[in-house]
């Protein structure tokens, strides 16, 4: 009895564990493709869309994106992206483009699973902070040659546009949309009431304003930091630069000496914590998301939000008329004893369109690169800009009369402001995770600035 059962059990276990031994390895295509060649064809009939190569000789290009067609018409980039995709498909009837759509959280899970399984789609979106891992894992293709061959294309992007997707002078992705993450959106009516005609330009004025708002029972800044990146991406990326200057950040990125435990960065963390302890933020800072955060601002219970440029269309669509009319743009005030240039804001492209290293066939690679270009050049950018989205394409064409007023205000003021790196768009993902989690504790006084700096530095050393 026992023997038979165990024998059966072992047979199953053994048969399958043959595949289980040895180093973790992605599906080996050479070994695998022959075996599954026949099943591939069957698969085709079974599910219609399962296989990678279509039976009628059409080339198939697979694309995976953290965008969804159901949001067309709402976000500028989404609309531009699918518009360019559909046009390209129409122009290439002999190619089948298979797109897998999802939201950003699901995308992060899926793309890493696909990568680790050796099943990366041909074109995919890569976050700047993933570049190091993706390159080291050999998931992403070096496209420097194609870009160099098409200088007009390469040079049409904003300055530093390729930086976060570049490693060792090789380019691994083309920027899609751009953004400034640390813009101050303030309700100018409310700030006038406490005596500020414009947004404070020095840190001391800012602290003074915080005190005045507190007296009136108004939250000075509302932050929805539950997803835990806003404190870092929207605040610290700019505030950090106020103290450290861009050279420090560059040195961190290159791993050439700078440390998170350096005095300047700790000073930035300290200033951030002091601001929080002074009552600059809402009490439920770590438990609300962006929608709940907007609710507070739209109901005039908070006087300002520090948020990215993606907030412009949201204000335009969802804010009550009076709030919309009163909302103005600014950048964080300057600090004393900080970096030389105090007129900076964290900004740049965070996401890049990349080509899988699995696309080895030259003809297919050429096609895929052509599609990649369509998804990132003016065909996409013009639509994005005309809906109030910031593009990585330097000079998109659009009708300034038809975009939200704030978008024009932004474009006018950003000319005099230097963009500095967005931490989570270029620093290593595990460093960022440690920073994000730690900032939540920092802001409610559960963690000292030095302690957090130590933790981030430890993670940084692990990552390198």
């Amino acid at each position: 009895m026992k023997k038979k059962l165990l024998a059966a059990l072992m047979a199953v276990t053994l048969a399958a564990s043959m595949t289980a031994c040895g180093a973790p390895q992605a599906v080996d295509d050479d070994k695998d493709s022959k075996d599954t060649a026949q099943t591939e064809e069957k698969k085709e009939q079974d599910s219609g869309e399962a296989s990678e190569e279509s039976t009628d000789g059409k080339t198939t290009i697979t694309v995976i994106c953290h965008q969804s067609r159901s949001n067309i018409g709402e976000g500028g980039f989404t609309t531009g992206f699918f518009g360019a995709l559909d046009t390209w498909q129409e122009e290439h009837p002999d190619v089948e483009v298979k797109v897998e759509e999802m939201d950003q959280t699901a995308y992060q899970t899926k793309i890493n699973s696909l990568g680790a399984s050796g099943d990366m789609p041909d074109l995919f979106m890569m976050k700047g902070s993933w570049t190091k891992t993706f390159v080291e894992n050999g998931w992403v293709s070096d496209i420097t040659a194609e870009l160099d061959a098409d200088q007009e294309w390469k040079n049409a992007y904003i300055k530093g546009g390729f930086d976060a997707a570049t490693r060792d002078d090789k380019i691994y992705g083309v920027p899609q949309e751009s953004m400034s993450t640390g813009m101050v959106y303030y309700n100018s009516d409310m700030w006038k009431e406490i005596g500020y005609e414009t947004f404070p330009e020095t840190w001391d004025e800012l602290l003074d304003a915080v005190d005045k708002f507190k007296e009136k029972g108004i939250t000075p800044f509302v932050m929805g930091n539950k997803p835990n990146w806003p404190a870092e991406s929207c605040w610290l990326s700019t505030l950090g630069d106020r103290f450290t200057g861009p050279d420090w950040t560059q040195s961190i990125l290159e791993g050439s000496g700078a440390k998170f435990t350096d005095e300047a960065f700790v000073k930035a963390l300290t200033a951030f914590q002091e601001l929080a302890q002074r009552g600059a933020f809402n009490e439920d800072i770590n438990s609300i998301d962006d929608t709940e955060q907007n609710t507070v601002y739209f109901n005039k219970k908070a006087a300002a939000i520090v948020n990215g440029t993606w907030f412009i269309p949201t204000i335009d669509n969802s804010a009550p008329e009076d709030v919309k009319a009163a909302t103005k743009l600014a950048i964080l005030p300057s600090v004393e004893g900080g970096a030389e240039n105090q007129k900076t804001v964290s900004g740049g492209p965070a996401w890049f369109m990349s080509l899988s290293s699995k696309v080895t066939d030259p003809a297919k690679r050429e096609l895929a690169m052509d599609l990649l270009k369509a998804l990132t050049d003016e065909r996409q950018a013009n639509v994005t800009a005309s809906m109030g989205g910031v593009t990585a394409w330097a000079n998109p064409e659009y009708d300034t009369a038809k975009v939200p007023a704030l978008f024009n205000e932004y474009n006018a003021m950003i000319k005099d402001i230097t963009a500095v790196p967005i931490y989570d768009a270029c620093m290593d993902a595990s460093v960022i995770e440690t920073m994000n989690v730690g900032l939540q504790s920092l802001l409610i006084g559960e963690k000292a600035p030095e302690e957090l700096a130590d933790e981030i530095q430890m993670e940084q050393e692990l990552a390198q």
């Binding site: 973790p24 899970t109 990568g115 894992n137 009490e283 993902a429």
Partner: protein, 300 residues
């Protein structure tokens, strides 16, 4: 029906009954675990160059305070949920068998309903219920002039575990009610009738008759509860994302972040094996505490 008396035909039947489940379970659940166990000996970020590191990941895990912090959170949640879910479910089930309760059918039907909603929707609903300015809890408190009790419920690191347990308890009361009520139906009603003739009250009946008779199902429920709470993920992810800081971090969420945000597949695998071992230990302990007396003399 001792093993010595099993006829060959019966043996065959037993094998036929067990095999389908064994095969698919082994192939889909056990093999990937073996693979994950294999991964746990490597330093692997997902690419082709995995580096064999032996037991190092486990050594790191043993010293990883954040993991043990998450584990202690899991334990707290499990304790609260065993008391809350099974305790309340038992009380409600007992109430639903008493005569004075109205709308029994309605209660039975509706109580299970939250368990049918996905964890993501539950978490999302409750984060709005707990919202400081506009959430239902604080709106009611303020309406009752108890505004000073209104709090940012999900922001206090000291109480966060208890707060996030509330939706968990709430959602699965109905789940355990179904299990407990199914067990109660197998109790012979004449036992209650006799007890009533002896003048037993409702509480006495519940504690002295029902509880011992359904002990087996309670043990099952406790195990389910431990198992479910050791891998709790979606609720926490949606409500707090593990925050503030790491104060509501649980083990499964940490595995998720280690795998898909930090790309440390090897270490995350070691963590998962760790979770498996810890959960096995806990279930073993719970079984020792609630032994299985219901089959001591009855069946075999």
């Amino acid at each position: 029906m001792r093993k010595s008396t099993l006829k060959p035909k019966t043996r065959m039947a037993i094998i036929v009954c067990l095999l389908p489940a064994l095969i698919i379970y082994t192939y889909v659940v056990i093999l990937p675990i073996i693979n994950a166990f294999n991964y746990s000996f490597y330093n692997w970020s997902g690419g082709p160059q995995a580096k064999y590191v032996g037991w190092k990941n486990y050594q790191i895990l043993l010293k990883d305070t954040s993991f043990w912090h998450a584990f202690s959170n899991n334990i707290w949640i499990a304790v609260l949920c065993i008391a809350g879910q099974i305790g309340i479910a038992f009380v409600f089930s007992a109430l639903l068998t008493s005569r004075f309760v109205r709308f029994k059918k309605l209660h039975r039907v509706v109580a299970y309903f939250p368990a049918t909603i996905s964890a993501v929707v539950v978490g999302f609903t409750w984060s709005f219920i707990f919202n400081y300015d506009y959430g239902l809890v604080n709106v009611i408190l303020r309406a009752l002039h108890l505004g000073n009790l209104a709090k940012p419920w999900l922001d206090n690191p000291n109480t966060i575990i208890s707060v996030v347990s509330i939706p968990l308890i709430w959602q699965y009361i109905g789940y355990y009610m179904v299990i407990i009520m199914a067990a109660m139906t197998s109790i012979d009603p004449s036992i209650y009738e006799m007890a009533e003739l002896d003048g037993a009250t409702g509480v006495q009946k519940a504690v002295k008759i029902t509880l011992p008779l359904i002990k087996g199902s309670i043990a099952v429920a406790v195990m389910l509860c431990i198992a479910g709470n050791m891998k709790i993920f979606d609720h926490i992810y949606v409500m707090t994302n593990g925050g503030p800081g790491t104060s509501s971090m649980v083990m499964a969420l940490q595995v998720y972040k280690t795998t898909f945000i930090k790309n440390q597949f090897g270490y995350a695998s070691a963590m998962s094996i760790g979770i498996l071992v810890l959960s096995l230990g806990l279930v073993g302990i719970s079984r020792l505490i609630i032994t299985r007396p219901w089959r001591k003399e009855s069946d075999y």
